[in-house]
Amino acid sequence: MSALPPERRTAWERVQFARNPARPKTLDYIGGLIERWVELHGDRAHGDDKALVTGIGSFEGRSVVVLGHQRGSDTRENLVRNFGMPRPEAYRKAVRMMETAEKFVLPMICFVDTPGADPGMQSEERGQAVAIAGALYALANLPVPVVVVVIGEGGSGGALAISTGDRILMMENAVYSVASPEASATILWHDATKAPEAAEKMKITATDLLGFGIVDRIIAEPPDGAHADAETAIRSVGSCIRESLQELDADYQTDRGYDEGRLLTARAEKYRRIGAWHEDRPQLTEAYRDIAEA
């Protein structure tokens, strides 16, 4: 696709990599890394959302809960998976799985790969905003280690809702953005065709986000991208997850399980640090004076 060496790929090229239908998806990572996998279904209230896969299994000998957005490889599968766009049931299923993780002290692994939460009428009727907020809140209170891997496209609140863990790992050609490049271009310039420009301006690549302190680590992909050598990509993801879990064990594991207070405080602090602002002593600056006099 690109003649440029990997480190010089543009943001828009990476968007194409992230969306490549042949790129490994959540179920591929589960297939390669999770043994004794059991998928669990349903939010116990309305339905089972196939855009978000959840279940339990064994990662290198330890029991874990796994969540992940699931896109399809073709149109037929994408219709079943709603193109990886979760509806409210998905987030309520995620919260249910977090309760299981807490109860049985199981670390959680989340795979992020969605264009965003479903923006349809029925999703609004069933409380899409409240469902996403609920998942964020449950994750902020979940006293087990959570490792997140952005494997493809991290789109907006629909991605964030299962992403606020203790470690955020991001694949080299994955992207993560406040809104998809197309939506960003529409919002900013009323022109979706300017998506490539939006992709550059919005700073959505793994390198950008590592620099911002938003992701913790970049997972290298095979030279031609994860889709060109899925097996190697999956193996790299596995070893990075292992290292992250080991780090979290070293920091928070005690004789009686995880140190919940320290883990949750550290997680809150991790997100508290994210932001960019100027701070004056509370007094009227030039700008305010101009306004006051205007």
């Binding site: 009428m121 609140g157 992403s163």
Partner: protein, 290 residues
């Protein structure tokens, strides 16, 4: 209108005087609800609610604070925080710095979020109000930081938190920093909750996107103003995606009440007694400052 709050710190917004009117200069205002021409002075007396059709006009943050909190009780905090430009956002048509300058002039605020302490029917609270006129009440780094510091203050002094939201969601111009404010504010409110301090959220017109999908609905009680637009995706996005016309009343506060997303829809006039009663009841068995 002059003395409704004390200035312990110089405020981030211009408080008193002629520039502080919702719709300046005109003596008459056309109601967007019923089309009636309303006399501005009467509207003010009526808390910016149309006497004929009960349409609730949008309030700016200073007006909201004046309407909701006890007279001269509001004390602003964190007024010194100003937005940075972490993406160096410049495009052919506009830069973030230019947008911010315009917003400051238009809204007469330094940011979309104003936080501080106040009293509500005598109860001390921490209050955080969004102003929709500042870049659509969008949540960027300063919005998130002010809110988190307000929550810290509430934890330190053991005070309940009232948030009043009117926002289009995350601010595009700060990119992922903006999205992460959803995580940041949620984490802070989760800490508040673990310490058994209440969060009451008042949703006002309009409230969509990342604000509705984070702290604004992670509350012990969610109150909505009549007619307020509340949702995740905005109506235009839904119509574009589904190519369907939305039915009348879709995503209104009343619709959200019917679908179980908010606890109550409360007219502006009744907000103060209703919210102070809630705060007192919730704090019946926990220690809070008095």
């Amino acid at each position: 209108m002059k003395d409704w709050f004390r200035r312990h710190h110089p405020p981030s917004f211009q408080a008193a005087g002629e520039n502080n009117r919702e719709i300046p200069d005109d003596l008459w205002t056309k109601c967007p609800g019923c089309g009636e021409l309303l006399y501005q002075r009467e509207l003010e007396v009526n808390d910016w609610v149309c006497a004929r059709c009960a349409h609730h006009f949008r309030l700016r943050a200073p007006q909201r604070l004046a309407q909701l909190t006890d007279e001269a009780s509001f004390e602003e905090h964190e007024a010194g925080l100003r937005p940075a430009d972490p993406l160096d956002f410049v495009s052919a048509t506009e830069s973030y710095q230019e947008k911010l300058d315009q917003a400051r002039k238009k809204a007469k605020l330094s940011e979309a979020m104003v936080v501080g302490t106040a009293r509500l029917n005598g109860c001390p609270i921490v209050i955080a109000v969004t102003d929709f006129r500042f870049m659509g009440g969008s949540m960027g780094s300063v919005y998130g930081e002010k809110l988190v510091r307000a929550v810290d203050l509430a934890r330190e002094r053991r005070l309940p938190v009232l948030t009043v939201s009117a926002s289009g969601g995350a601010r595009m111009h700060e990119g992922m920093y903006s999205l992460m404010q959803m995580a940041k504010t949620t984490a802070a409110f989760a800490q508040l909750g673990r310490e058994r301090l209440p969060h009451i959220s008042l949703l006002t017109d309009p409230c969509t996107g990342g604000v509705t999908a984070s702290y604004a609905t992670n509350a012990d009680v969610i109150v909505a103003e009549p007619g307020a637009l509340i949702g995740f995706a905005g109506p235009r996005v839904i119509e574009q995606t589904t190519r369907q016309k939305l039915p009348q009343g879709f995503q209104t506060a009343e619709f959200c009440l019917q679908h179980g997303m908010v606890d109550m829809v409360t007219p502006r006039r009744e907000l103060r007694p209703v919210i102070s009663n809630l705060v007192q009841l919730l704090c019946g068995n926990v220690r809070v400052a008095s």
